[in-house]
Amino acid sequence: MRAESGEAAEAVVPLRRREGSPWGRRLLIGAELAWFAALILVPGLALARQALAGGLRPLVEALAEPAVQRSFAMSLGITLVATAVNTVFGVAMALVLVRQRFFGRTLVDGVVDMPFAVSPIVAGLMLIVLYGPDSAVGGWLEARGFQVAYALPGMVLATMFVTVPFVVRELVPILRELGEEYEQAAHTLGAGRWRTFWSVTLPSIRWGVAYGVTLTVARCLGEFGAVLVVSGNVMGRTQTATLYIAEGIESFHPEGAYAASLVLAATSFVLLVGMDLLRARLERSEEVES
């Protein structure tokens, strides 16, 4: 009788222990939330406080400055071009990597990720080495009146370099998961490549494309180091929003920089909400597939 109840007690204790004590759990949750808040949220709030220190009117006035507006227009333009080009490339490259067999495919797969391993500053330096006025390619282009380094084309190239992997990396697993059956069915029914792509492949990967595009846009808007090196930081002429912020903080009039930072932070927050919605969509479409 005693032995029996002892056994029962032993069986119950580990079950309770398995979940850990409620206080231990609460402590862990509390510690992680506190770390997250201290590391990520509080600095964000400090920026908001700093930017809104004088109320809303100075913030609006700072944002209305022509220099701020020019820099945002420049950032948006570069983002538009780089995102468009890298989206088309990303879809094509992902299709090639998943649907085709060719020599060196694994190597190509690794090369796509290389920009992730390159410091933005080093990326900028690479473009100066390749397209700078004293290089062979740069000299040839300059002789034909086309300046890449220390000008807008270089800044676009730098932004494109750092965002090459995003769309590819997002689409490769989705395409692999999708399989080839639907595409082959379309081929069998006589559809050409284009037709198959537009009416079979693209509709199945559209949320993945959207997710990759969102990541690309966020990175393009925020790119700093690579653009800084390539722009040569010519005052007033070639300045993106991030370059404007860095210069503003170093100067003695940081109000515009704080205001612009708050706008960029808010933009990234909106992009993040978009990413979250897209991820929910992606998970749902995967469930439908399987």
């Binding site: 580990p14 862990l28 949750i29 085709q100 090369v111 796509v112 390159v118 410091s119 006589g190």
Partner: protein, 279 residues
């Protein structure tokens, strides 16, 4: 009809080759060409000149500082990241969905803005900065600021790498361990952690590689003091500005090689894991 299908297949084949050619050319011009051009110019003056550029006291200090701050960040990030993933997967608490969505914030916020945020919070003119200065602690324009910035920008890596593995983990083994009388700690260390290791390593390697090259956030908080808080990317930018192209190239080559080595090792590790899983 058969001839029509055959010609269609041939056309598809041709189009496939064109697509491959176009995307590989873009990749070659955009990524491979700049990397090769840089690598070539970095080693062209010979190993002696390369070594001289890297062992320059300022360059050497910048490299040491970069690796040291990245290592500290990785150690802290691996522990907090694993714990955060654990809390997000295993526990329910109000606001969990919101926190889970906000984890990726550092990927979306521009690095310069991260730097501005940290300066606004810890800078010499802020309340927190003043209190810390009273206690003799300097965060901004010093090394603690660099580590904080690195922790911020790499925050999601370990969490996002561990989370899916933890979600997919079969809890039967943990329950078996618990039934056999193991406490929560023993169960975690002996049963759960061995399964999580590869994902913790993956997240840590990605954040380390990112930390080596991080510039925007670090330059805002580190200032520009040589031999104190000047990391390798800041050093490289300074050398470009002052016209020492080869000094910049040599340190860049070291950074790039370290980053690539980490990613290649990680790739090999994952491949081995896949082979083991498949067998």
């Amino acid at each position: 009809m058969a001839a029509g299908t055959a010609s269609l297949a041939r056309r598809r084949e041709r189009q496939g080759r064109a697509l491959r050619g176009a995307s590989l050319s873009y990749l070659g011009v955009m990524v491979v060409l700049p990397i090769l051009a840089m690598a070539w110019q970095a080693v062209e003056p010979g190993p002696g000149a390369f070594w001289a550029a890297v062992s320059d006291p300022y360059a050497w200090h910048a490299l040491k500082l970069t690796f040291a701050t990245a290592i500290i960040m990785v150690l802290v990030g691996a522990v907090t990241g694993t714990a955060t993933a654990w809390v997000l997967v295993r526990y329910e608490f109000p606001g969990k969905h919101l926190v889970n969505a906000l984890i990726d914030l550092p990927f979306a916020v521009p690095t310069v803005v991260t730097g501005v945020m940290l300066v606004a919070l810890y800078g010499p003119s802020s309340v927190v900065g003043a209190i810390l200065a009273e206690g003799g602690v300097r965060v901004i324009y010093d090394q603690p600021g660099i580590i904080l910035a690195l922790l911020f920008v790499t925050y999601p890596f370990v969490i996002r790498s561990v989370q899916p593995v933890l979600l997919a983990l079969d809890r039967a083994e943990e329950e078996a361990a618990a039934t056999l009388g193991a406490g929560p700690w023993t169960t975690f260390l002996r049963v759960t952690l061995p399964t999580l290791w590869p994902s913790i390593l993956t997240g840590s390697a990605l954040s380390f590689s990112r930390a080596l090259g991080e510039y925007g956030s670090v330059v805002m908080v580190a200032g520009n003091q040589p031999l104190l808080a000047k990391t390798a990317p800041i050093y490289i930018f300074g050398e470009i500005e002052s016209g020492n192209r080869h000094g910049a190239l040599a340190v860049s080559a070291v950074l790039l090689a370290s980053s690539l080595l980490i990613l290649v090792a990680l790739n090999a590790l994952q491949r081995r894991g896949e082979v083991r899983d498949a067998s």
